[in-house]
Symmetry: C2
Subunit: 359 residues, 2 copies
Amino acid sequence: MSSLTIGAADMEELARGAAILGSGGGGDPYIGALLARQALQQHGPVSIVGLPELDDDDVLVAVAMMGAPTVMIEKLPGLAEIVAPIEALAAGSEHPVTHVVSAEAGGINSTIPVAAAAALGVPLVDADGMGRAFPELQMVLPTLYGITASPLAIADEKGNTVVLRTIDNVWTERIARVVAIEMGTSVMISGFRMTGRQAKECLVGGSLTLCRELGRTIRVAREEKRDPVAAAAERLGARQIHEGKIIDVERKTASGFARGRAQIAGADSTMEIAFQNEYLVASSGGVVLATTPDLIIVFEHETGEPITTEGLRYGQRVRVLAAPADPRWHTEGGLALVGPRYFGYDIDPVRVRLPAEEA
Amino acid sequence: MSSLTIGAADMEELARGAAILGSGGGGDPYIGALLARQALQQHGPVSIVGLPELDDDDVLVAVAMMGAPTVMIEKLPGLAEIVAPIEALAAGSEHPVTHVVSAEAGGINSTIPVAAAAALGVPLVDADGMGRAFPELQMVLPTLYGITASPLAIADEKGNTVVLRTIDNVWTERIARVVAIEMGTSVMISGFRMTGRQAKECLVGGSLTLCRELGRTIRVAREEKRDPVAAAAERLGARQIHEGKIIDVERKTASGFARGRAQIAGADSTMEIAFQNEYLVASSGGVVLATTPDLIIVFEHETGEPITTEGLRYGQRVRVLAAPADPRWHTEGGLALVGPRYFGYDIDPVRVRLPAEEA
């Protein structure tokens, strides 16, 4: 770790890195960064604790925003809403929460937990449940380890709270999703309570500091007139699979998700990327080049600014990277949760071939 | 009160009376009676306590089934599901529940609380929150007195539970409704925690024993070859507004409600009755004869068996009564909650004219 705290000055780099790992989804991290910056200015920097530093009996809860990212932009949560679900959980538990952690490393859900940790005055764990962003609540590695999402608390900005105790994490997702939509499509949630020992086993370590480092890498490359996308690719062990101009974007918000597809015309071929909050399948001329669970990331061509699915616009010149996911996502259980077939694509997962494997 | 307990042998009469006060809705009380009979046989009779006998600091919770009655028939709750929401509430409270009460006097929600009281071993209060059945959760007199539905617990038969804490009773309804639909359209709920003092002020007293007495009145009239509908009308202070044959029934289940309309051809005119779980508006030749909040009740012509909206069939010969609701429903606040305009009918409420007022 490069530092033991995160302060207001770190938020821009953290947000840019979160937009990269968000793989197009997870909401606009800059919105979360605004909130986090306010909270950090008000409450001071947040301590960052690595997984190896956790005590076995520490008590972690994940905090996240749930809903369609389109709505988040119009409906920013306040600090009271961000901590409300954690407080609702605490009211029903004998074990005080010692640490907050991100459910996903990507998008708004990398930056919102900074605000929650600041407001609550507890450390934030340098880890997350996915190593990227995914659209549904059960899509975290803890599910593979039998960690239950529930009790899961949901809060809206009006003051309504809901606490779910469900038989499995898919039911948590189903019920939380309809509650989120009824409450106004975008809510704060907290759950996945786990011990320090469980966290060491089931989370992806280092993802928070990786976000900040990625953001910094892009900035430094720009300042030094180097290629920011190449710098990010090197840090991620990623491979560029396309570059070109966006010639079409279709999207609709349905059942609380932002679904759609983009066409990117390149020199020799046109790539199509399908998304459901996150980029899920990249194909070109009928050949699938990358799929979930690996990360598909779209960058603005010159600046290396990552572009979310919501930020896709006709005419943008972009470059597309594919980066390897945590290897546990490529197991049978992992693919059942987040493989292409789960999302309705009748194709086998295509694992990104890295330059080192090409020889 | 004619008796201080309710036993298995009382359930048929209680259910028939509940079908009358249900005003066509509230689900099939005989289904709830089956469950209650099982619970009473297993746990013994349930003590019935009148409102005047409550101590001011008693703690009451209402228990009810929520969802489309059509589904209830296919998906009977077990005793574990019936008590689950009450136990979920108890887990978050310092005040043990001393009494169970019915949210509505009508349909399955008059008989299910008997099962809950038997299984929990607590007395049942001879009262309810409406004096009839209504389709939405906030439609109880306690809402007019500022009693909150939340914390409200919801449980399904799979073992999922949800606890809501909402800013008002309309939000409780909104969120509970989508949760109920996602869980399978029919769930058990418990909420409206109140003290004995509050109960005396805001509930409708005597409705449980009224149900049993109405059921008994019908049975005795049949045995004595008297007119059972006339006997029920006399006990209710009701007025017959139509008799005839059902010539058309339209219905659909939408958003968790059973909506529709029935046409009843009489000697001189055809009556149309619109319903949304309950019978809401009865009109004939363009003249509105009775509306919510008063009770519109449909009886089988000869036997005097009350017919729920789900039980309406082409060709049935029926008689229609209108009975006065609790007068508090006719206040401005009451009509805002359950008047015809709330249900989308652009008409003024028509209060039933009783024979005594005709002179």
